[in-house]
Symmetry: C2
Subunit: 347 residues, 2 copies
């Protein structure tokens, strides 16, 4: 067994000089899902979630303080950010500035390597990288737990991308400041587990409902939401045990049922929130056939039509090949590192 | 407003001489679903359901007593029945014989007009027709409520096909004989409502899980099943009011959410029970687009991949035309009659 956070943030010891920092973070895929908040402002989830951080699709973010500037300047993949994306970043920087008791504006440059149109959210890796880079640039010394808690304020799932490998995001207890303090991710001990996630991209039109809207509608209108939250608690307990003993089949089974349960709660929202497209079900059918053929492959889906298929690393190529008949593209991801500062850049 | 059972069974007054009778019945599509039994033997459902009887796909069944025969003889569409279909019919005839205090075996000849491979169950029309024909042949005088209760023992949804138009099947109260007595369908008063159901047949492999197995697994393993049953009660109350005021949009909305909720409970069963195929979702997408184009069209699905789309009778052709781009075949059904004896045959 090993505690798998190969690259837990290297602050405070290796923290570069304040004023300028670059950080790298990776997306994560939840195996026990986060769906629904109990506090929209503090981004406190209704239940604990658990994820695997990937080794692909990294986000690299540089934060440079700009004492002369009147406003933050944010660039996403060479394009100036505006509107909601801009506001989310500046609101996050405000949290960092408040904590650092500093007022300088900043120049933020972010590069995502998520393929365009892949329908994969980059907010987890994005805010994990921003949390690490911005705190360093503003001279804050935060440990990994504090970084996770902070990243959560940008995007809930970013709290998990602070850690590599498998991470558990605690929903936290109570309300207000207590809840804020108790809601963060931690790396999980995992047994001998060679897991890969094959990401199957399916063609689908633009997302009809954003995940924010979808979450809220599910929480507020789905009669099946609360019972799913309850069942998700039990899933988490079983999942931790399955990870600890390195039982890929159990991990996959629990992940698949947790995801299907989440999509079931959405389907029962009013009106229904349905991210599953025809091609999504074609991939699920393929996954069932793979299992019938003796391949341990299990599906999980998020707020979009794509499917992520958990399997043994040794089976990943075969799974990807099979899914290519129903998916437009596939990517193979393995366990990735936690968010970290790029030292060559900061020193 | 009218009480819509144009052809409530014509017994006892027109009952033909015992010994030989032919009855006709039609399938029904549930708008508030029946999914899950609280008593497998008595076929007592977990919750009330509500349906529209169709004017297409009739079943015609003749029952002729055969005093010399040692066993019942059952023919389905010119093919001798065996195994489970045979056993279900003889077990049903045993109920009739017990009640009539008669012992003769019977020859049963059934003809379904459901298109082959359409994936539409004929057990509702089949057992409704059998209940009417067999009781007449064995000389029983049952009223429509008693026939409905009896038909239920053959197949739950057959209790509703005894009535034309819209029917409500009461789950019944308590257990045992009390419950048996209180679980039957009744015709529902309906306002000025011109409703059609466009049946969209989609290509899909053989059903992986029978509805019996699917129901049981959902009841026993889905953490979302009980909450759906609760929500279905509220749906039923709203649906009765919507039918009474002839509000097609409300009827459609409630029917669609009730069906999606039912499929959601199945999706959360362990392992998942999924009747939705890729093409099912393609039809659902088409229905959403029809609504965006201002056509009141609402989907409902049962234990299979086909979709039934509720719309105004005046829109049925347009809806069918639209769905033909994603479905392999479409049929238009309207409100049909209740089960009845064929008098020319019995006199």
């Amino acid at each position: 067994m090993r505690l798998d956070h190969p690259a837990a943030p290297n602050s405070p010891h290796e923290r570069p000089a304040a004023g300028h920092a670059t950080a790298v973070a990776h997306p994560n895929i939840a195996l026990i899902k986060y769906w629904g908040k109990r506090d929209d402002h503090l981004i406190l989830p209704a239940s604990d979630s658990l994820s695997m951080t990937l080794d692909v699709f990294s986000t690299t973010t540089t934060v440079r303080l700009a004492p002369e500037a009147a406003a933050d300047q944010v660039t996403l993949n060479d394009t100036p950010a505006a509107d909601e994306p801009y506001r989310r970043v500046t609101a996050f920087l405000d949290l960092v500035r408040e904590r650092a008791r500093r007022a300088e504006r900043a120049v933020v440059d972010t590069r995502n390597t998520v393929p365009t149109g892949a329908g994969l959210a980059s907010s987890a890796s994005g805010f994990a990288a921003l949390a690490v880079a911005a705190t360093a640039a503003y001279g804050l010394r935060l440990d990994a737990t504090e970084l996770s808690r902070l990243a959560r304020r940008g995007s809930g799932s970013a709290s998990r991308s602070i850690f590599g490998g498998f991470a558990l995001w605690h929903a936290g207890r109570g309300t207000g400041a207590d809840a804020d303090l108790s809601s963060y991710a931690e790396p999980l001990p995992v047994g001998d587990l060679d897991a890969a996630l094959v990401i199957a991209i399916v063609d689908a039109g633009p997302k009809a409902v954003s995940s924010r809207v979808g979450m809220r509608r599910t929480v507020e209108t789905s009669p099946l939401y609360r019972p799913w939250v309850e069942s998700s608690r039990a899933d988490l307990t079983e999942m931790r045990a399955a990870l600890l003993r390195g039982d890929l089949e159990a991990v996959g089974e629990i992940a698949e049922r947790n995801a299907l349960g989440m999509h079931a709660t959405m389907l029962a929202a009013r009106p229904a929130v349905r991210y599953m497209a025809p091609a999504t079900l074609a991939v699920l059918d393929s996954v069932l056939r793979l299992r019938q053929d003796g391949v341990a492959a299990y599906a999980t889906m998020d707020a979009g039509p794509n499917v992520k298929v958990l399997c043994a690393g040794a089976d990943a190529d075969r799974v990807a090949r099979t899914l290519r008949s129903v998916a437009s593209r596939t990517y193979i991801a393995r366990r990735g590192p936690g968010a970290c500062l790029r030292t060559e850049d900061g020193r």
